[in-house]
Amino acid sequence: MTYTSYLYFFGFAIVVYLVYLACPMKQKWKVLFAGSCLFSMILDGFLAVCLLVTSLAAFFCGKQLTKLQDKFNAAKKGLSKDEKKQLKAEITKKKKAVVAAGTIISLGSLIVLKYTSFFLGLFNSVSEIFGGIQLPLLYYALPLGISYYTLQAIGYVVDTYRGKYRAETNAAKLILFVSFFPQMTEGPIGRYDKLMPQLVEGHRYSNENFTSGVTLIFWGLFKKLVISDRASYMVSEVFGNYTKYGSIVVFVATVMYTIQLYTDFSGCIDIMSGTARVFGIKLESNFRQPFFSKSVGEFWRRWHITLGTWFKDYVFYPVSLSSPFMKLSKASAGHMSKFMASIVPSACALFVVWLGTGLWHGASMKYVIYGLYYFLIMLLGTIFEPAFVKMSAKLNINRKGKTMSTLAVLRTMLLVNIGMTMFRADGIGEYGAVISRIFQPINIYDITSGTLFALGTDRHDFLVIVIGVAIMYLVAIMKEKGKDILTLVSTGRIYIKWPVMMGLIVAVLVFGAYGPGYGVVENIYAQF
């Protein structure tokens, strides 16, 4: 995004906010509704249409599902147990049809728009082997945010199917839920039961919300403009011409990329959450200090949390609890060691989850590999866990001790770094080439010659990045220890609040990588 697009966004948000404040309590949600509709139309007319279709499909399916449930509840009184069961089966069948329809409409549009060319390409390569026909590839313009709001809508439909809550009775409110403008383009993927009440409720101006929102916005801008965009120049230079550079430079570039990815994504989420917070709305948190994770599994519970929990609730659990999987687990219980029997079924379900997670990021083989990479690491971790436990017991190593924990954190960082590099590489082949480049013999000349600082991110930039990351690290440590700077700022005294806010504003304006001499850096996660 260019900084003008920030200006547009904030200009838009300010106008919506002023109208929001001016409206009476009960009408406030309508302002958000109108604002979100307008926002999607400004972004892209096609996006507005897609949003409307998805939301309306979710709305009608939800309504139908609740209706069916009510019918069952009304009819079941006075029925015998067997009759009840029969009726339930009947209703469940109908409900399944409805939920399938809802999912197919929203997921279908996502698949058609995002994956057509991928599947056609896949078909072509298979057909090439057998000498079959070649289909022309179809590329559609992918509306921004489709990968995010589609999941949100599906979550809603499935939850009404499960009877977690009653369906929304007001179509406009559901449209607002699916398309709430701060989270439209990059998430976080919200849940109806948590988000909807906040959207509808209406909030007065509150000092606390305002300061914490604005601080969060500037914190996000700090991450994005000061750190992420600054790192991006070196990253694109090295990844674009990786054959020119030695192991150290390439390795630094991959680390820089991981930093860029994290600050870009979490920065944008902070900006959006901050915007919502000003309105008095708390979006789901998407990150919980991911780089303190001791294992890759933990990392994924702390990184892009809303995507992880979405896949857990709507893919992992239903798949593992489905009857074929239950059968599988019974079968494996009979034929394998107890340990393996416990792993095999969930491993199969996890495979589906990670395939999905990978593909969600993009329609390309590299994302499939990306997902499976994490799957494999976690699987190996689980399989070897008992062995590790035994080994450390024998060697008398305290696995929960400080040294081991630190090592585990570092190991996770390294593994994640290798995984994230896949995002940046243009394909699997290039990815392999980049990674193998790291393992070339180390050439000290890389450092002494100053190449590192001549790749678009000079020594001043490095200094800013290092200081910026250090500040982020301190904030994260505080948070790990239960001290949230944001709460401190929003509720604290002036001598805490003002220096922090002013410091952030000055840092963004002075040390942000924006304006003349800086290229435009797109948000990485908006493309997914």
């Binding site: 939850d159 499960r162 009877g163 977690k164 599994g297 933990e298 519970r301 857990k312 609730d313 709507y314 992992f316 659990y317 239903p318 593992s320 609890l321 239950m326 687990s329 019974k330 107890k338 416990s342 792993i343 079924p345 969930s346 379900a349 996890l350 689980t382």
Partner: protein
């Protein structure tokens, strides 16, 4: 209850399930362990646990799990 504690310690050995009240929130039971547990519970008690029941509140303590099973048995 005794039976349940046994199942629990089979799924995840070395945890004091009688005392823990944050099994999910503190990460002792991850989603994989929960699935294993659910499979065992379904077997032992002949209950059908659906995804909607898979929320942290139902699995945070042995007591909560027990309550869930009892509820589903009815």
């Amino acid at each position: 209850m005794e039976e349940l504690l046994e199942i629990l310690s089979e799924v995840k050995p070395g945890v004091d399930f009688e005392k823990e009240t944050e099994l999910v929130d503190s990460g002792i039971l991850d989603s994989m362990a929960i699935i294993q547990l659910v499979a065992r519970l379904a077997d032992e008690y002949d209950v059908e646990i659906t995804p909607v029941d898979l929320v942290p509140e139902n699995f945070n303590s042995a007591e909560a799990i027990y309550a869930l099973v009892k509820r589903l048995e009815d």
